[in-house]
Amino acid sequence: MSVILPLLFLLTAASGTAVVLIRDPARQIFAIAGNGIVLAILFTALQAPDVALSEIAVGAAAVPLLFLVALMAVRAGKVEQASDEGREP
């Protein structure tokens, strides 16, 4: 157990950083899902199975799916208005 917890903390930090550093939205969604799975494992290791179940259902499945669908919607609309879309910094 003493090895697992620090390892999981490291994984959590790494996957969380990956979510921030990955700039492509489509890949970022999968990074979020990965982070959710790591968090769920961490919660299980910390003996919080209820929170882990919520995390895996919401954080690793529902939220990424909603993001994916939303991204699909944005892409579908972009085909028509690709030309007049100004980029503002």
Partner: protein, 258 residues
């Protein structure tokens, strides 16, 4: 607001808040310390008084049931708001069959995906049901089980495509599930008052400790939460998916930009 001003504000806020935060963090119990007093009290009270093995469910549905009632209606309001926002000018106009945005490509699915979804979908639904009905015995409960059930319907979407998914999922049923679940929870609060008990007092027989039928009124509240969460999340998915396939989209270009 200029960047410099923002940084100054941030600095002022940090200077004001950091000492307090540091003091609080310093006084926190150590990582992995023994269970707090509240947890010990719950562990002592719940199995004896409520015959429930899952303390989290006991807190959610019984000891702090009023909070869960509030959360239930928070979820209802959030999903209603999202649906209103996403439906937009489609308004009340709903169809039971799938609509597609013209010109939208239908991506072919590999047979492996279809097979996996057909195998895993029913199993996932079964697991969701298991989580729901065992709320008072094992970890999980109405919320987790409801979200798993909603995800299970999405496997049908992944495997059978959008039109196949819409053949299974009926929007009106989802409305009824979502509202009916919240209503059931509220009625669980009000019904005990009819027999002279307090709001949400657990008046039903508690059943046997560690048995499927334990916890009395908690089981009905749990069912209400499961219905509301499953219906609500599926409705949310449906509205998000439907928007990408709005049938009357390209008729008036320019309106979609917002």
């Amino acid at each position: 607001m200029t960047p410099r001003l923002r940084l100054t504000l941030l600095g002022a806020a940090l200077a004001a808040l950091l000492p307090g935060t540091a003091a609080v963090i310093g006084r926190l119990p150590e990582f992995g310390a023994t269970i707090a007093t509240y947890g010990e009290r719950i562990n002592a009270i719940v199995p004896k008084e409520r015959h429930v093995a899952n303390m989290v469910s006991a807190i959610n549905f019984d000891l702090r049931g009023l909070d869960t009632l509030g959360e239930e209606f928070m979820l209802l309001a959030a999903i209603t708001g999202t649906v209103v926002l996403l439906r937009g000018r489609r308004g009340e106009d709903m169809t039971d069959r799938a609509m597609r945005l013209p010109g939208r490509a239908i991506l072919p699915r590999s047979e492996a995906v279809v097979l996996t979804c057909r195998l895993a979908g029913p199993l996932l639904m079964l697991f969701g049901l298991y989580i729901v009905v065992h709320a008072t015995v094992t970890p999980g409960g109405g919320f987790q089980g409801g979200v798993i059930l909603a995800s299970g319907t999405l496997l049908a979407y992944l495997g059978e495509g959008y039109s196949g998914w819409r053949d299974v999922v009926r929007s009106h049923w989802l409305d009824a599930m979502e509202g009916g679940g919240a209503l059931l929870f509220a009625l669980c609060g009000l019904a005990p008052m009819l027999v002279g008990a307090a709001f949400m007092q657990n008046v039903l027989p508690f059943g046997t400790f560690r048995d499927l039928y334990s916890g009395g009124l908690m089981l009905i509240e749990n069912l209400g939460v499961a219905l509301a969460v499953c219906g609500g999340f599926t409705q949310l998915f449906l509205e998000f998916l439907e928007e990408t396939r709005e049938a009357d989209g390209p008729d008036e270009p320019g309106e979609d930009t917002a």
